[in-house]
Subunit: 348 residues, 2 copies
Amino acid sequence: MNSRYLAPDPVTGDTATISDVARLAGVSISTVSRVVNGTAPVSGAVMARVEAAMQTLHYVPRAAARNLATRRAHTLGLMLAVSSGDFFGPLLAGVEGVAVEHGYDLLISTAGRNGPQTELPRSLGRHNTDGVLVSAGSLHETALRALHATETPLVLLHASAPDGLNIPCVTIENKAAARAAVEHLIEAHGRRRVVLLRGPDLLADSYWRELGYRQAHTRHGLDVDPALCVPGDFNHEVAERSVARLLAEGVPFDGIFTGDDDAAVGALRALHAAGVRVPEDVAVVGFDDQRLAAALTPPLTTVRAPTEEVGAEAARQLIALIERRPVQPVTLLPTTLVHRRSCGCLGV
Amino acid sequence: MNSRYLAPDPVTGDTATISDVARLAGVSISTVSRVVNGTAPVSGAVMARVEAAMQTLHYVPRAAARNLATRRAHTLGLMLAVSSGDFFGPLLAGVEGVAVEHGYDLLISTAGRNGPQTELPRSLGRHNTDGVLVSAGSLHETALRALHATETPLVLLHASAPDGLNIPCVTIENKAAARAAVEHLIEAHGRRRVVLLRGPDLLADSYWRELGYRQAHTRHGLDVDPALCVPGDFNHEVAERSVARLLAEGVPFDGIFTGDDDAAVGALRALHAAGVRVPEDVAVVGFDDQRLAAALTPPLTTVRAPTEEVGAEAARQLIALIERRPVQPVTLLPTTLVHRRSCGCLGV
DNA sequence: CTGTTAGCGCCTTCAT
DNA sequence: ATGAAGGCGCTAACAG
């Protein structure tokens, strides 16, 4: 190539470069560059010729060359924790939609099952990426601090920034949602002794949801009985054990806020095994509205989070950061409570 | 930079290049390149000096420059259909693990909810990517043909190549798995009239699973009653309607192969609503072993697919293709039947 | 509006 | 075993 007028040879896989186009169109490479990027005005006639040339040559700019010349990667990094379960898809869809809309590609990396990485994978490193979206549990705090120190544009997903780090984050209104869920049990269904299945210690989600649980009590002049706050870990096995123990010990309760839907599975199972009726004896609310929520017996009342929008908003923030526009330090997306049978609302 | 001996300025975000390292170590850039890539032997002493220099400068090679020089992207493209539900995570984990292991990055793109794309997104195009993994339902056949014509290395996920296209594909043993599931109903539980909830027409999965269903019958000298083959669409609503209709029409049956777990949700719901006991009156098997399978009432007997391994194997094939090593035209990964209550096996 | 000319950072022969 | 020099394809001043 580069020395012939021919179309790219489909056999060698050789493809046209900007100079091929320029030559065919009878202009300079700068002009081609201009019509490709709309960087500067180009006369109609010339533009037409160039576009024709690009067509016949099947010209596609080579990203590596552009990236090298502009010293930008035109790429967003997304650092994920594998466990992301169900909302993986929507999250990705949200992020990707916004990314392409703004002309960015998406480079992905997942943390192994050995927990948060202590190092940013090279693929998402400084030069491969203009910025990185870091989802909760994917990157160890020290790695995050190191990254932040290099001034890499960063946005946190479903997590808040470690002390002292000024990193924008986008997540859902955990506290308000948890409060609303528990208040629903208290107000609409007259429950007074609601169990809290606590989430994993390190997760920000756990912290805020617990706070919401407490706030619901405070607002209604209720005390929180420490005996009702047991481990749930956002995990059905842990949850099942906790609820079974409560039952075995004869601790009285008439409601459960399970922290997340997975834990709800365990809670329902323990309740069912003990012959406790849901929602008559114990009303249950979950959190997340995963696909399985509606399929449980009884169908689970739970909090629906706008996962796709979380991804989209995070991407928007990151791009703003990259392009040096003002950024929201923390954005909390609103949730809605989905009423199903397990709380006592629908049907019986 | 490029003219000082200093470490990269953390404030400007300026970072070291290969020449900075060379200068600090007192060698040429070629030598640095050699130690970075292990391209040619380098004396121990020199190597040590270079490595020290890289350390103190926090040197990281710039991907764009390498890609430009080598004319390779060192990147795999992954084209996904958004709906991928539950097995999104494992699949990604599989692909990514193999990719990084071989020194490739992962660029992702998802098909919008408007069905298969008719064009490969630019981000996964020829120069941004050394090859592309195309998952079922993400790319329209014409796009696939066009892509294939450009000689882009391609591997299909959960789909087989369109007629005449010689594209390797990796998926699971749909036919054998479906056959085993249905045979289990026939052999272990004595069912003779098993309903088939057919999957979506265009999906390869649907086709093979239906074939397996038929094969199970043939092998046992049973006829397939066309009245028992109804739409399921891998969708709980469609499935619920179909099963409800069968019940209403009084068509007799004693088992259901639901095609996938989502459809199983609908089937169980319809059965429950009609007061039909599972598994006593009707035994049910699903397919996929999604997370909700174990949480259903009763817990669902279903086929477990090695999703992560599918991703990993696909990545291996693609890399082989890229590096011009021999490739498996089609690889079928084995599944296992997970016995739970809905078929009549465990508990009651 | 259009062309010329430097690089961007790295790999890769080709000498030595 | 090491260095020198020429690209890879494109963008971005800088002239006209």
